[in-house]
Symmetry: C2
Subunit: 326 residues, 2 copies
């Protein structure tokens, strides 16, 4: 790769002049600028962005913190963030917290140490001390509206829709899964579901989950069908636990959706690929990522922010684990 | 956040002395060093890594280029890369190429401009000109052994295993999907499959795919069952297309695995979640990511590399789209 010195030699100017052209700083005659730009083109010189970011006291990096990219909910969200950043000339530094406060803090420090200009956090920890007094703006993603800047989907309304669809399609003994207490969006959807079930005067029971994993779903599915063999509708906390319940139901020879209806939450990719395909409440996962990136870029550019909390709509996706309405 | 000046004031020394302590450069008296370190602790000062990386001419960033993180093959691979990097104190910059040469080149340039110290590329482009004359080491991931440094799994052997298992479990009219020509690992598995089928003297037909997507799988599944209604075994190019074929087979009322056996390739997470669960050839996706990161760190540290091409073993995963062997 060519050096700045080689560019200066080729253009017949000093290194300082090349630097002034690159940083658009200080007066440079038009024909001198042209010579420098030609030399840069000819030599394929790539200016060092680190030096420039120090000089300008800014970089083009944004940090993204996720619980775990192998959870199928997050790749689509990360992709939304990245597509928006890339169009705006920003780049993504990326870390998985594994829901460990220590790992999360280490990533935050590394991001700050490396002149990251903004942060998007989609971790679930209630303790926000890690984010206090950061010198850069932070947008919280998929965490409800409790933070200063946030992008999330309407979990309460999603929970309401799931319960209404379940009742409309004929279930009368409904099992509701309640996700872990520290995951705020999951609590919101639970709240919406309970609200509708209570109003509708149908029987229901609640099963609390310790996590949203497939394995936890399998364990609880066994419990549900043993304890409540008469249940005719299950509202899951997310698509992954819904899929686990679907498996357990099928392996017990239950007819889906005739004997038991199942509704998930999220609409991750695989939910249209299971058989029968999963009816669910769709969150606009990709759009949530994009909106968070948009909001963060506004904060970085110190532009006016009309909406510090962006709540996106959810919708019912009618597939084959729920009955048709007449 | 505290500044270096505040640290110097608190310790009663000059900024230059604090800098010498931070960079471990030049002589500092033991008790002075202690005073500086105490001030750093008390103020919670975080040194600026960008300034240090410029000073030391190195950073702790590694760039990872993927085709698309929302393809369920890649999150696990990215996670393997990240876990290894994190343990070694390196951090991940991340970009999706979308199989666009231009987008790929832009990311490579950005990585280099920002003093990234190494690159891992898992894109599929045959044209490697983008990687010529880079000033940093590059490891190619999941691309076969054609590059200088590479980590991949044994596609040829995987293709052989798929064909052998299919025959052993009784299929005699086999359909083989052939993935896109530019995706090298997919060609290798095809080659291994054909080798075994030819030797075994069974009937087979080949269907060429333009992509490895679910949609492409659905289109071709329709074609397969229309053109070759008598086929009793399908070897897919990857798990995603295998899942599409499974859906089409089930919706035509085919009994799986009694009438038709299906074998995928990859063993992505969702393959154990489809119903019936998918028999497949398992690539150690997470380990491939980890090994690539290990190899790259060796190159960055200029340590001896005994194995520039690391080929990992694949294995057969016996689930419910293949018959039991007596």
């Amino acid at each position: 790769m060519a050096t700045i010195k080689q560019v200066a030699e080729r253009a017949g100017v000093s290194v300082a002049t090349v630097s002034r052209v690159l940083n658009d700083n200080g007066y440079v005659q038009l024909d001198t600028r042209k010579k420098v730009e030609e030399a840069i083109d000819q030599l394929g010189y790539i200016p060092n962005e680190v030096a420039r970011s120090l000089y300008k006291k800014e970089s083009r990096f944004i940090g993204l913190l996720l619980p775990d990219i192998t959870n199928p909910f997050f790749p689509e969200m990360a992709r939304g963030v990245e597509d928006e950043l890339q169009e705006e000339g920003f780049y993504l530094l990326f870390g998985n917290s594994d829901e460990s406060l220590e790992r999360e803090l280490k990533y935050i420090q590394t991001f700050v140490q490396n002149n990251v200009v903004g942060l998007i956090s989609a971790t679930n920890l209630a303790d926000k001390a890690n984010y206090d007094n950061l010198p850069i703006p932070t947008v919280f993603l998929d965490r409800g509206s409790q933070s200063e800047y946030s992008v999330y989907s309407d979990g309460v309304e999603g929970g309401r829709i799931a319960a209404s669809e379940m009742i409309k399609r004929g279930s009368r003994k409904i099992t509701v899964l309640k996700g872990p207490a520290h995951v705020m969006p999951v609590q919101e959807r639970f709240q919406g579901t309970i609200e509708v079930l209570v109003q509708a005067n149908v029987d229901f029971q609640v099963i609390s989950l310790e996590s949203l994993s497939f394995q936890e779903g399998m364990r609880r599915a066994y419990e549900i069908f043993e304890k409540f063999p008469e249940t005719d509708g299950i509202i899951a906390s997310n698509d992954t636990t819904a899929t686990a319940i679907l498996h357990e139901a099928l392996s017990r020879g239950k007819s889906i959706p005739d004997e038991v209806q199942i509704i998930g939450f999220d609409d991750i990719q695989q939910s249209s690929l299971v058989f029968p395909s999963l009816s669910t409440i769709r969150q606009p996962i990709y759009d949530m990522g994009r909106e968070a990136a948009k909001l963060l870029i506004k904060l970085i550019k110190k532009q006016a922010v009309e909406q510090p909390h962006i709540k996106l709509d959810v919708s019912y996706v009618n597939r084959n684990t729920t009955r048709k309405v007449k």
